[in-house]
Each structure stands twice: as structure tokens, then as C-alpha cells.
Symmetry: C2
Subunit: 194 residues, 2 copies
DNA sequence: CCTACCGATCGGTAGG
DNA sequence: CCTACCGATCGGTAGG
């Protein structure tokens, strides 16, 4: 029945959303299934009617965000300049971090706790992702759009800076999301331009 | 006896060093006292002859690095330009991250697991630290050394970028420590200069 | 530094 | 979705 299916999936989504919040606050290993169940208002055992294991929760959180990032990169307009593409990448990641704060934070901080297969999948996905962006930066250097800075360091700096926005939020009064985004671009792109 | 004292303190240092490595690899909550003891070659119970609790180990790792950072900032040459001071700050943090890789990583990633008093001490120390650097950036903007970028975002980006070097190391063959440092400065200072 | 052990808590299952 | 429960493991202590 449609209702049953809808109820099932919305309960699972509630579990994933609550778990993302708790994993961010206390870490994956610092969060117990009992803590999680309590926040949701059921017994720990009942969680297993919706998910298979604690590890599966982490998988779903991490890969759902990772997939979004991969898609955006693949659908990027190849006719744009390197500068335009790097700028839109910074804007995209900044928005992802702000709009999907809990999940994005879990991805960048807790991926280390993925289990064997999922861990190596994530690591190789990320390596491929970073390499692709490095290629864009290198293009920009070859084109004389960018000054000669190590693409490896640039990509690391951009992605790390976005990650650092996990400290923001609290001071949301002093900077709006738009101001954060503009300043991220100004600083990180400014350091690239010739 | 001197020998006893030396042995005691060197054992404690071995515990702290090994713990830093494990906390970085598997997280604070993901590391058990039994894992730690095994790596050192003693029983878990014997750890307590050298340290008081698991939490104390984290305290010592985190605050020893935090103190080094605070000292460097306080001893900074106030007669230098804002640009010179920010540059030397980037260089200092990059070196700290590379030379004290395990402890620095634990500080930036595991401080969240400090207990009550130590946690609030760390948070307020860090806030004060960040504010001081923001002031330097603001000076640079007022002086027309820097373009008008939010000091808040700039400081976040610098410190986050340094943190991101935890992904480096493995590819140590492609970049030396010096190259990393030069490129950090080029990108992050480059984005500030008018 | 060890043996022996504590109560608490962990992720997860059986059976309804 | 719950009760009842599993074996494993946790940080830490007593006592030598």
C-alpha cells in the first residue's frame, strides 16, 4: 500500500536526518544507536526495522552528498573558462555546506569510519573528484587565466575552506549566506588570478 | 632517583605520542584504552600508572599544540606590516601541521571530545585567537595593503586550509614541505593583496 | 606493571 | 514497534 511505503520511507529519512545531526555533533563512534533511537522516540531495537546497521546509516549520509557533488562536476559547462568553472565550484560547495550542513559535515569528517568496501570506494571517488578539479586549475594556468600555483594545493585549500564553514553558523548574525559565498570567492579566486 | 623520573616521563610521552597517532587515525571515541595499551606493549590497567584518565590524554595533546600557537601569535613582531604578519602566520601553521602532524590533527579534529571545563576553555581560547588574527587582517585592509575581504572569512579559510593538509603526506613525493608552504602563501596571500 | 574484576554500555537478534 | 536478551567491549579500580 502506498501509505505504508510512504510511512516507511519517511521514517527512514527521519532516522538519517537525526543521525546526521548527531554524527556531526558527537561523531559517528560517539553516537550510540540508543541515543539515536531516543531522539526519535522509539526503542533501539526498532531502528532495525528501517535500517540494516549503524554502518548503513553512515553510508547513506556520506554517499548521498558525495553523489550530488560528483553530478555537479560532471554537468559543468565545459565551454566556460577555467575561472568561471572554479568560481561556480566554490559557489556550489559553499551552498552545499550551508544548505546541507549536517550531512556535508558528516561526509567531510566521518567518512573515515566507513567500512572496508565503502571506505575504499569513497577514497577513490574523492581522489578522482580532486584530480578532475586539478585539471581545470591546470587549464587555467596554461591559459594564463591563473598564476602558476600548485593545482594540488589550490584544490585542497578550496575544499578545506568550505569544510571550515562548519565553524560558521553560530555567528550567522554577522554574515549572511550570500556574504560568506561572495567572500569565499573573493579570497580563493583572488589568490588565483594573474 | 633521576633515572626513575626520566623513565616515568618518557613513558608518559610515549603514551601521548602513540595516543595522538591513534586518535588521528580512528578518532578519540574510536580508540580504546586497550588498543592504546596494546600498541605500547602493556596492559590497559597499567596505563593508569602514568595518566589519570583517557580525557587527560586528549587534554594534554590538544593544549600543548594550542599553547604553541598562542605563543607564536603573542611573540609576533608588531612592527611588521599586516601582510608580513599574515604571511608568517601561514608559514608557522603550515610548519606546525607538517612537523607535529599527529598532534595538530588531533587538536583541530578531536577538541570536540574535551570534557566540560577543558572544552569551554579551548573554545574561548580559540575564539580569542581568531579575533586577534582578524584584527591584523582588518589593519591590512585599513592600510590598503589588502583588498576589502571579510577578515572573518579570511581567517577561517587560512586555518581551514592548513587543516586540509592532513590529506597531504601520502603524496609527499609530489610536493616537498617547502613547496607546500610556498604554495599556501601564494594562494592565500595572493587572494588578499590589492 | 600485572591479574582479576567492576558496572555500564555497545551493536544487534529472536520472537512476537 | 516492543520486551527481553546476547556476547563483546568499554573506562576504570583494587590489591598486590
Amino acid at each position: 500500500m502506498a501509505t505504508t511505503t510512504r510511512k516507511r520511507s519517511s521514517k527512514k529519512e527521519e532516522i538519517l536526518k537525526t543521525a546526521a545531526r548527531m554524527f556531526r555533533e558527537k561523531g559517528y563512534t560517539g553516537t550510540s544507536m540508543r541515543d539515536l533511537a531516543e531522539k526519535i522516540g522509539i526503542e533501539a531495537a526498532s531502528l532495525y526495522n528501517h535500517i540494516q546497521s549503524k554502518g548503513e546509516i553512515l553510508d547513506e549520509i556520506v554517499f548521498s552528498i558525495a553523489r550530488d557533488c560528483q553530478e555537479q562536476l560532471e554537468n559543468m559547462n565545459a565551454s566556460e573558462t577555467a575561472l568561471q568553472r572554479i568560481e561556480s565550484l566554490i559557489r556550489f560547495h559553499t551552498k552545499m555546506m550551508i544548505d546541507h550542513f549536517e550531512s556535508y559535515s558528516v561526509m567531510v569528517s566521518e567518512w573515515i569510519h566507513l567500512e572496508e568496501d565503502k571506505l575504499s570506494e569513497f577514497v577513490s571517488d574523492r581522489r578522482r573528484y580532486v584530480k578532475k578539479i586539478e585539471t581545470i586549475v591546470q587549464e587555467g594556468i596554461d591559459n594564463k587565466e591563473f598564476k602558476p600555483v600548485s593545482p594540488y594545493v589550490v584544490v585542497l585549500n578550496i575544499l578545506s575552506s568550505v569544510r571550515g564553514l562548519e565553524f560558521w553558523q553560530k555567528s550567522a548574525k554577522t554574515h549572511t549566506a550570500e556574504e560568506i559565498e561572495e567572500n569565499m570567492v573573493k579570497h580563493l579566486i583572488g589568490g588565483l588570478k594573474l
